[in-house]
């Protein structure tokens, strides 16, 4: 009787340990499954995209479908490149950053300086909601505002406005969070010395939190570089290099969208995606690098 009881207990704990082990293996297995797509995607991009990467890819404009077709039929490399997309992305992202960074920094500073104020809470909540708005809706908005009334046609400016609305709340929130981490005594010391308020901001708050602020900014930029949906409704695309912000302009992600199911252009699209990925990830890693250095 006694013996049997002990045996049963041993049995019971063995099954508990088995469950324990099985669960650990499930966790490890699913975690491996979770990270496998990133490896598969990057591997595929490199495998498919590396061949077309060349100087002309970075310096010539998109070929028309016929040129690409004859080249593919002859087994040659597709002529031309995506410089119209590269310059377009450059202009639109730069313009969006110029709009969003100062506005975002100032709003972030306002939120930090006025904690608990009702207006500040409202702004913070609205920024959070804006951050969740789907990017395609931002495209619609910029279409209704800029394409319709400002440039009266698809334009790089409209694309930039959509991207800047996307970037703004990210910068506001990251600025506030960064500022919260600097010791208040630094600011108080400056104020005690009678430094004017704007100088406290420009000479004390911003410099001491500089690396944190740049982390947020770089992350924001890396988010908008790859955006396609808002640009489809605003910048439209262009086969030529365009420096005029009131005219339709291309971008690297827009080219991918335009040609992804064209069998003659697809090699070039893999390379474009590879390039896009390299740019996005380097911004991403750069922001992480600065972030870890700070600690």
């Amino acid at each position: 009787m006694e013996n049997k009881n002990i045996l049963m207990q041993a049995d019971h704990s063995r099954s508990r340990l088995m469950k324990e082990k099985a669960f650990l293996w499930i966790v490890v297995f699913f975690s491996v499954v979770t990270i496998s797509p990133i490896i598969l995607i990057i591997w595929r991009l490199i495998q498919k995209g590396i061949h077309q990467l060349s100087f002309s890819f970075l310096s010539k404009t998109t070929p028309d479908a016929f040129e690409a077709m004859t080249a593919v039929a002859a087994g040659e490399r597709i002529p031309g490149g995506i410089v119209n997309g590269i310059t377009g992305t450059l202009i639109m992202v730069a313009l969006a950053a110029i709009i969003a960074i100062p506005t975002g920094l100032i709003s972030g500073i306002y939120l930090y300086e006025n904690p608990g104020k009702r207006l500040a809470n409202l702004i913070r909540n609205v920024a959070d909601i804006l951050q969740g708005v789907p990017s395609i809706v931002l495209g619609l908005i910029s279409y209704l505002w800029v394409v319709r009334y400002v440039t009266q046609g698809f334009s790089a400016l409209a694309g930039s406005v959509a991207l800047s609305i996307m970037m703004l709340p990210m910068i506001v929130r990251s600025t506030e969070e960064t500022l919260k981490m600097i010791p208040i005594t630094i600011k108080e010391a400056a104020l005690a010395l009678g430094v004017p308020y704007h100088k406290v901001i420009l000479r004390v708050l911003i410099p001491t939190s500089f690396s944190g602020l740049s982390t947020g900014i770089l992350l924001g930029i890396s988010r908008i570089i790859g955006e396609t949906a808002p640009l489809m409704l605003t910048a439209l695309g262009s086969t030529a290099i365009n420096w005029d912000i009131t005219k339709p302009t291309s971008a690297i992600p827009l080219l991918v969208w335009e040609f992804y199911n064209n069998p003659y252009m697809v090699d070039m699209i893999w390379t474009s995606s590879l390039l896009l990925m390299i740019i996005v990830l380097s911004f991403n890693l750069m922001s992480k690098q600065i972030g870890t250095k700070r600690k």
């Binding site: 508990r16 340990l17 469950k19 324990e20 650990l24 966790v27 490890v28 699913f30 499954v33 979770t34 990270i35 990133i38 490896i39 995607i41 595929r44 100032i106 709003s107 500073i109 306002y110 939120l111 207006l119 702004i123 609205v126 920024a127 959070d128 909601i129 804006l130 969740g132 708005v133 789907p134 395609i136 809706v137 619609l140 908005i141 209704l144 505002w145 609305i165 703004l168 709340p169 004017p196 704007h198 570089i225 790859g226 955006e227 396609t228 949906a229 489809m232 409704l233 992600p253 991918v256 969208w257 992804y260 199911n261 697809v266 995606s273 896009l276 990925m277 996005v280 991403n284 992480k288």
Partner: protein, 283 residues
């Protein structure tokens, strides 16, 4: 007026800009959607007929609302075991180890991949696999779109639950261990209940992400304007409909698309507010 006051006013005015933008967005979306709602009334939301043919134009948003919800829920169901396991991997089993750092960096990178690259990869890698298994129409469909969506929302679901799980106080867990509980029992009876609301908030926010995703879904969902009958059917989400049909839209059709944008805006706004509310209540 002294310079400090000017600085304060500048800070205030620039900050109010966010409110102006948000109010302007609501105004423009509502204003643009009015013609569609005037013509169809509430039937716009409940009708399942989307017919842009000139003369007998009729626009109903139900197929796209259904498409959006089905793909997002399915994506959440697929993502759950993966991201939950990963957050246990990062926040519990291998907390603060080098391997956890590598895994968490890779999960973060997943969030950095542009939607269009996911779409391209899905189109040329995932779709052939679907074709092999005879799923969907030439590999397109709700299921394929949900699969790619699941991969895309994993980082959002994982990062919050991982953070919350790793914050569960050690003495709670140690108390359970001292009573002889195994690790699994501690996770099931202590860690998860303690972290529950944070985990739920993470999945709500991930759901909000999934609803608004455009490019990858557009490239894989199959673009048919009917209510999908099964998860292997083709369909359209609200975002993918706007992406597909915006180019040739004007007049009533444009208004219908803006109305769908408005619905999308409201839906994501509500979902994100719920998620944020839960997080705020926790801290």
């Amino acid at each position: 007026m002294n310079s400090d006051k000017i600085t304060r006013i500048v800070l205030l005015l620039v900050s109010v800009l966010i409110l102006v933008i948000a109010a302007g967005m609501v105004f423009s979306l509502v204003d643009g959607a009015i013609p569609a709602f005037q013509k169809f009334g509430l039937k716009f939301i409940f009708s399942n007929n989307w017919d842009p043919t000139q003369g007998r134009e009729n626009y109903g948003a139900l197929p796209f609302i259904a498409g959006t919800l089905i793909t997002s829920v399915l994506a959440l169901l697929i993502a759950f075991p993966l991201s939950f396991s990963t957050s246990l991997f990062l926040g519990e089993y291998f907390k603060k180890t080098r391997i956890a750092k590598v895994v968490s960096t890779m999960v973060d990178l997943l969030a950095g991949i542009p939607s269009i690259v996911y779409g391209l990869w899905g189109f040329y890698t995932l779709r052939p696999i679907m074709i092999k298994f005879g799923i969907g129409d030439q590999g397109f469909g709700i299921f394929t779109a949900s699969l790619i969506l699941a991969i895309m929302i994993i980082p959002y679901a994982t990062s919050l639950s991982n953070e919350i799980i790793s914050m569960v106080p050690a003495d709670l867990k140690e108390a359970a261990y001292s009573l002889g509980a195994t690790r699994l029992e501690v996770i099931a009876t202590v860690t998860v209940p303690a972290a529950r609301s944070g985990i739920v908030a993470g999945y709500i926010l991930a759901f909000g992400r999934a609803i608004g995703e455009t490019m990858a879904v557009t490239m894989l969902i199959g673009n048919s304007n009917v209510i999908p009958k099964s998860i292997f059917d083709t369909g359209n989400s609200m975002a993918s409909l706007i992406a597909n049909q915006f180019g040739e839209a004007d007049g009533l059709k444009l208004s219908a698309l803006i109305a769908i944008g408005l619905i999308l805006f409201i839906l994501t706004g509500i979902i994100n507010s719920i998620g944020k509310f839960i997080i705020k209540k926790m801290s």
